[in-house]
Subunit: 286 residues, 2 copies
Amino acid sequence: MVQIIVAEHAGFCFGVKRAIQLAEEALKDTNQGRKVFSMGPLIHNPQEVHRLERQGLSLLQEEDSLGENSTVIVRSHGIPPQRERELLSKGVKLVDATCPFVKAVHEAVVKLSKEGYFVVLVGEKRHPEVIGTLGYLQECGGKGVVVESREDLKQVLGKDKVGIVAQTTQNEQFFKEVVGEIALWAREVKVINTICNATSERQEDVYQLAPQVDLMVIVGGKNSGNTRRLYEISKSLNPKSYHIETPEELQREWFQGVKKVGITAGASTPDWIIQQTVRRIQELVV
Amino acid sequence: MVQIIVAEHAGFCFGVKRAIQLAEEALKDTNQGRKVFSMGPLIHNPQEVHRLERQGLSLLQEEDSLGENSTVIVRSHGIPPQRERELLSKGVKLVDATCPFVKAVHEAVVKLSKEGYFVVLVGEKRHPEVIGTLGYLQECGGKGVVVESREDLKQVLGKDKVGIVAQTTQNEQFFKEVVGEIALWAREVKVINTICNATSERQEDVYQLAPQVDLMVIVGGKNSGNTRRLYEISKSLNPKSYHIETPEELQREWFQGVKKVGITAGASTPDWIIQQTVRRIQELVV
């Protein structure tokens, strides 16, 4: 008999739930002949995106011509303000599903810049959230860099006043190291911790759960940064950790001799995939 | 043949040199019958204090009556402002040898308090510098705590805006950990790194030197916090690390089979003791 423990805070966070609600609301307009686009995949979960596509959502492509008959959904990651103005100038209806916690990062970088800080954004250089935030930094005339690895810290050397924020889904441990390191060189450091609660809770769960189970399954998009970080944390605590996107990836042999399975899921993983995963594990271990 | 390497930044720092110069200057007045006191040992080095006592310096005692004929030297660690006013009200001549870097800590806690931060002073609760700084915090109506160990971090939990400074001679590694930790809980953290260059340089030297020698000798007062921290860092990198106050403590058997000796000294250790130490090691290894 296998025991399956699903982490307390697995799956959708507040911002993702809100984005999906806003999208489903906007999709009702397709009945009146409106074309509804999302700027980039609405969430980093291909399966959930397909579900919404079946309801009429299209991924905005370079060649799409936008006009007054178009609705564009800005996903929870947000976009640069320059891009937002460009869209509005085309007369589209903009549905802003930017997560309020991401908006808080935009505000934080602007505030820090105005106070004269060189901004360090701890995050992934190519993540859409980071690209959006950098747009706000640029718009207010601020200066700063993205720190993704220790290597990037070189660009902060010699800066006198440093303001530090994080991508909302940043790994807490790395953020902590970066802050500590910079505080040793810079004369003055101001940190606004913008890692969202959903991120800390999900990571905290893994720190608790991974060491006490025989095997960990982390469910979520392979393109989801926050899911990947849950997997990395889990792997560091329990070598039998697997990152899957769909239950079909589960393999029977993983579960040989396993008595206790832990499951968690990134903030962009829908409940229905978590539930399918639980059921599939129950079938495999019979 | 033994190789002896003295660390580049061993011994007296700027603030200590300045305090001793000011003291020697003040001691000239003893010729005109003035009584010259220091508030607490002028520096954390008994041998150097004895040298100054021979020039007429007295350690201020509870029972000493002070008046217009007294000079009181405030040592580099500084004193609380309340104590300073008390002394001035007795009509004494005050010679303020407070290190300018310590004055910067006083200013930093006042600034942070006025900006609404709960102040965390990373340092030793009973160190005179810390006691002086807490006086300034109290005077401006600020709130805060001293963090000496991880245990003390509990008192910072739940604080929204936290301002962090350090005792000038704080261990950089611990400071870094404290800053990183607090940045994870608090909404906003402002760090003014008040660890002085002399401290970083001396610690940096130990990180470099200790792993490449067979034995490390750290010279300095047993009551000197910054010397003790050099010893702790050294010990963590090289088990053959010894903290001595005077060359007499060196033991011949420590040096058996030793080819390379590293020497460093705290910021309150006079050159003459370092030189005696080098000579004594040369005698012992012959």
